[in-house]
């Protein structure tokens, strides 16, 4: 069922997140940060941020420590591949599924 009070008569899209849905569900592997290797964490100042620069999905924060928005992160692994200190590892999502199950 629709509604006749559609705001417009054209295809007029307005900006908002998650057009593709919660794309975090696309993920097979999850990025996990080892703060002891991460440059901004180690120096405790803004530095490096190569992960932030190359993230196609804009889900890595430019903060100390950098964080991942897992709601939308598709798990491409570019951050892990590009991290100069190998501070990010891609971990099988199945691993977290088990953990979350344990919590319940």
């Amino acid at each position: 069922m629709g509604t006749r009070s559609y705001k417009r008569k054209t295809s007029h899209s307005e900006p908002g997140p998650g057009d593709g849905g919660r794309t975090g569900s696309w993920r097979v592997e999850r990025p996990v940060l080892d703060q002891s290797l991460c440059i901004p964490c180690k120096r405790n100042k803004e530095a490096c941020y190569i992960c932030w620069l190359f993230c196609p999905e804009i889900v890595i924060s430019r903060t100390i420590p950098p964080t991942f928005d897992l709601e939308y992160c598709k798990g491409c692994g570019i951050c892990a591949e590009e991290c100069p200190t190998k501070a990010i590892t891609m971990v099988d999502e199945a691993h977290f599924a088990e953990k979350e199950k344990d919590k319940e």
């Binding site: 007029h12 593709g20 999905e57 804009i58 892990a80």
Partner: protein, 300 residues
Amino acid sequence: MQAKTNILNLPTREFVHPGTRACTGCGLAIAYRIGLKALGKDTMLIVPPSCLTVLQGLFPVASTKLPCLNVTFASTAAAATGILAALKTQGKKHISVAAWAGDGGTSDIGLQALSGAAERGDNFIYFCYDNEGYMNTGAQRSGTTPIGAVTANTPFKGKQQQKKDVPAIMAAHKLSYVAACSAAYPLDLYDKIKGCVNLPGTKYFHIHIPCPPGWGYAPRYGIKIGRLAVETGYYDLYEIVHGEFKLTAASAKLVEKRKLIPVREYFRSQSRFKILTDDQIAAIQTEIDAKWAGYYKKDE
């Protein structure tokens, strides 16, 4: 020459929302994100059907935070002309116009309109994001698919013809600015956009875009592969300012180093080149070496 942008002074404002429909590890998503940072808020975009149409979102949700007009496949540059004309009559001089089209939308069906707008000297930036095929429709060959690449419609023998050199075609229009960039070098892209905005007429950007499903590689290697294309001397980063050709960024450094990675490494990193024989790769290597010999000579 302005100061080079680095990661730390790159603006943090984003013009794309997360959660797009783009493929995991999409190279376009990186180039688009950085490109919009350079273009800034007061920009109107034009997009023909392409991967970007999908990335941009389906009605009624848009992932881009800038106004954007979706247009027919062959009309991208003409639409830029139309928006510019409207802005001119409205006296809105502070708004710039940028078109983002794929390689098929540029080198094949969009070339006539692009040539027309370039010849008229309409003042906008045209971005051709080149993932070397009609990736949105399932990876068919385009004018810029390289020789030897297997695509959905060159399934066994691979493409038999050379890649069309669109930047050279655009340079022949005597544009004020032509640039070749890569998603693997986002800061080079950013600096080039920033550097050309005040140049007159049409500015043309060609951006090499690694594509995991179309090229056949695991998403995490996208930047590595984009970088390999440059470091093997296969795809060059350059700019042509008022007719003056200059290698930039990593390509410029390669001239200093006088050392290229064998192109074989690039080809072997993607399944689309699986049918290239060692002899064919050797032949391409010879071409690359000859091209670089020319660069070295110019440098001496």
